[in-house]
């Protein structure tokens, strides 16, 4: 891969654009965000489901993430209930994964000659997805700028081959690169142009609105009902006969089922932010979402292996 001459980003969107270009040049599919509320980029089916089974895969995308409990009404310099992650998934993980990652930092203007970059032990786990992996958080001058993981298990299923996952917390990374102390002050696009906006111009009022909604207003009974509905729907979709009556052939509805699993996970996060879940219930609900994820993963794997029974590359 050739390293292009990169332009040092001057605003939030240029950080994203540079990452997009870098990973496009590397050979990733540049996908778009998943159109559902998720807590992390990992939930995108392009990561969760595609990391299962033998088929090679490489993709990169921005994913808006919702973490209701992290809302601070837009006042905290770096805590947000809605923020962006940049997500990269490479399967199988390449042997020069770390090198490739380090070059992506140069692409967003981190000059390695001036900074102390470190891979610091961090074992990753997503209890709701039944997923875990080993890897690091990457520190730049003492600040965590990315999460770097070799998936070992997803949806309770062992990964073979292993996918490498990169997650950049975009706001935090951009604040660092741009030297901004409060996220709301960060230039969203280039400043000085006729139409220039800060991150706060775009998101400040949303943070305040959602914080109120997440913490106080969201109807607990209704949300609980939605959670139950999503769970039921997921199971029902998967229990349908494999043969599509109209097509007259197999047509497993894995992705529609997985959507309901994602939905259940987000609704659980909302209830958690409302502080209405007792510790016991909490563990039980996480277990219920994990059970859905497991069923979806198994269904995906079954249909994937059917389409591609043997893959000579993977022997």
């Amino acid at each position: 891969m050739k390293t292009k001459n990169v332009v040092k980003p001057e605003c939030f969107q240029e950080v994203i654009l540079n990452l997009q270009n870098y990973w496009a040049d590397y050979g990733c599919l540049i996908l778009q965000p998943y159109d559902m509320e998720v807590g992390a980029g990992t939930f995108h089916p392009a990561t969760t489901l595609r990391s299962l089974g033998p088929n090679p895969w490489s993709a990169a995308y921005v994913q808006p993430c919702r973490r209701p409990t992290d809302g601070r009404y837009g006042d905290n310099p770096n805590r947000l209930q809605h923020y962006y992650q940049y997500q990269v998934i490479l399967k199988p993980s390449p042997s020069d994964f770390q090198e490739v990652y380090l070059k992506s930092l140069e692409a967003i203007g981190i000059d390695k000659r001036y900074h102390d970059i470190r891979f610091v032990e961090d074992d990753w786990e997503s209890p709701t997805l039944g997923a875990s992996g080993l890897g690091w958080e990457v520190w730049c001058d003492g600040m965590e700028i990315s999460q770097f993981t070799y998936f070992q298990q997803v949806c309770g299923i062992e990964c073979n081959p292993v996918s490498g996952e990169l997650t950049y917390g975009l706001e935090r990374l951009a604040m660092y690169v741009l030297g901004v102390d409060h996220v709301m002050d960060m230039p969203f696009n280039r400043q000085g142009a006729a139409f220039s906006k800060t991150y706060g111009d775009v998101f400040k009022r949303l943070e305040a609105e959602y914080s109120r909604w997440n913490f106080d207003a969201c109807d607990v009974e209704m949300t609980h009902r939605h959670f139950e509905n999503a769970e039921t729907a997921c199971k029902e979709i998967l229990s349908q006969p494999e043969i599509d009556a109209k097509l007259g052939r197999k047509n497993l509805m894995v992705h529609p089922a997985y959507d309901q699993c994602i939905k259940a996970s987000h609704l659980f996060n909302l209830l958690d932010a409302r502080g209405v879940i007792s510790p016991i219930e909490r563990a039980a609900m996480i277990g219920r979402v994990r059970a859905l994820a497991k069923q979806c993963g198994e269904a995906f794997l079954a249909s994937e292996l059917e389409e591609c029974p043997t893959n000579p590359d993977m022997e």
């Binding site: 102390d116 001058d141 003492g142 292993v162 510790p279």
Partner: protein, 715 residues
Amino acid sequence: MPDLLLEIYTEEIPSSMQKPLGEQLKSRVMDELKELKLEFGQATSYSTPQRTILLIEDLPWQSTQQTIETRGPRVGAPERAVSGFLKSQNRNFDDLETRIAGKTEYYFLTEVVPGSIVNEILQKSISSALARMSLPKSMFWGSGRTKWVRPIQSLLGILFDKEKTEIVPFQFAGLQAGDTTYGHRFMASGELSIDSFPDYRSKLLNAFVDIDPNSRKDRILGSIQSAINKDYSNLELVHDEELLEEIVGLVEWPVPIIGEIEESFQSLPEEVLKTTIKVHQKYLSVRNTNKGKITNFYAVANFLALDGGKSIIKGNQRVLASRLSDAQFFLNEDLNSLPSNLVEMTEALTKVRYSFGLGTQKDRVERIDSLAKRIAPIFSVKEKDASLAARLSKFDLVTNMVREFPELQGVMGKYYGLSRGIEPRICEAIEDHYLPAKVSDIVPENPISITVGLADRINHLVGFFLRKEIPTGLGDPNALRRAALGTIRLILDNKINGFGLRNIITFSVEEHFRVENQSDSNSRIELKTNTEEKEKTIEDIINFILRRYSIYLVEQGYDSEIVDACIFVPRNDDLFSIFNRIEALKSFLPTTSGTNLLHLDKRISKILLSLDSDKHDKPSEIASVLDPSLFSSSHEISLFEKYSLTLDMVSRKEVDDFLGKLQEVSKLRAEIDSYFDNVMIDVDDRKVKNNRLNLLANIRNMLASDFDLNLIANL
């Protein structure tokens, strides 16, 4: 004689795993070589975040020749057998030799195996040693099916002496070893080819890698010290060995850079500062001796930056400032919102679970409270003080600070307690009832801390034992072993006599069945246990603690037989009394009296056991009231008289005068010996026989409640 150098070059291995990994590699390879009877000298392992290194000195180039002998049929066996044997060995009749083995003459074939090339042996042994490693936390990567701590990038294996270097091309994880390695990730580029260990060491030093953890530590301390001497005479490094060890495993080329803590944060409680600096950022704290405060820190970078570290320290200061401003914010929130009567916080603890089936933290605190009140008199602590300290022991779990910085539990409790005017000794207990948690922790001496600490740990052990969540194997998810060890050290280090575990554990078990002690029935599982099971649980807990006690004392250098002879005595539950007995036995055994005692005890237990196995009455049934009228020989009468005298002496000794008791009983040796030499025990008259055995059993019983001398094997 050549040396072997191995390097496994990987992606960053967690600091705490580096040394154990190197040590295990060393011992596995050594085991392989020993199995092959290959001689070698010194073996040393080194490590960096990216390297596991092994050096084995003084191997041969060639192994020595060996003669292998195979035995065939005996001489005179049918011809078919002999020819079959020759065929299977692919040899001729002329090769046969005959030799006598035992009483029979056999055919033999001998084969001289020439020495083989050590390089070839090593390739196999290293691969098999690597495959045999047991790695507690390991992973797959890419499409490979080999597990290691983190992905392996390359392997180096060379065998070298002054004249030449050979590659040892062993294979592992789909890679083959060569004679090259790489320098520092950011400060060197390209491959380095290596022909010896000195070459390896010096080329890597030139490429900014110091492979020796101790030398990296010296570099850090040296560089900090010289900077302080030169420029900052009023500063002083806060020494923290544990943190240094960790940092040494985070860098291949340590570059300490000093940073400043903003003035406004310098007045945060010192523990808060230290935690943020150490736990979150892994910086070394620096104290200003004029101000008496922590004002600076050292970040140890892995990199010599172009600008001398200006950007690095600027970045680190910014991260630290943002963390400290979080801490400041939460601290102020807590100070503003905590009630003036902190006991009210107990209600908030209903929100936090203790453990599944054991209720909330409020339930826990209430149980600790009643236990602490029960224990308090032993330490002359006022019941009211013990109770207040117990009820405040966990309230900080629901404060913002502890939710954000869990490692500050206890510390914040003390701080907030002081802010609300709680007596300092009680605040101290809120903080240090958690101690000792680690081996290096000090043991509190404040009686209130000891009271609450013991109550907390006993309650913890009892709860999980009742729930049957008992640690097996290596795992200890609920930290029960730590609770047991904490109990042991609190009692031992404070020399607490007369703390009967059985009594207090029984009380705690009953507490768990009191219905009113349940703030959240939702998170509590009905405990259904009958009296018999309760009894068993109580004994299980005591035995669990006693087993930890035995392990702990042996680690402290005590002889394991002496320890066990004093610990594993029925109904034993007073830890400090056990310790006194161990000290007594330890000083008594090497003396002549000690030899006498062991001698007589062995003789008695041998006969009791042998007659027992001979379907006679069991020794336990024998030890009962003696009937002096059945004695006939003068030897047994004299032994009986001496025994009665001794029994009287022993019973008049102080309960913990163990040395005195041992001394008294040992004096019976002469009488015992003449008894054995002159009295026939195994006679037909059952009554007489039992009475004779009975006398011996009674003698043995004089020490049975303090010692089990059977556990001492060697005279």
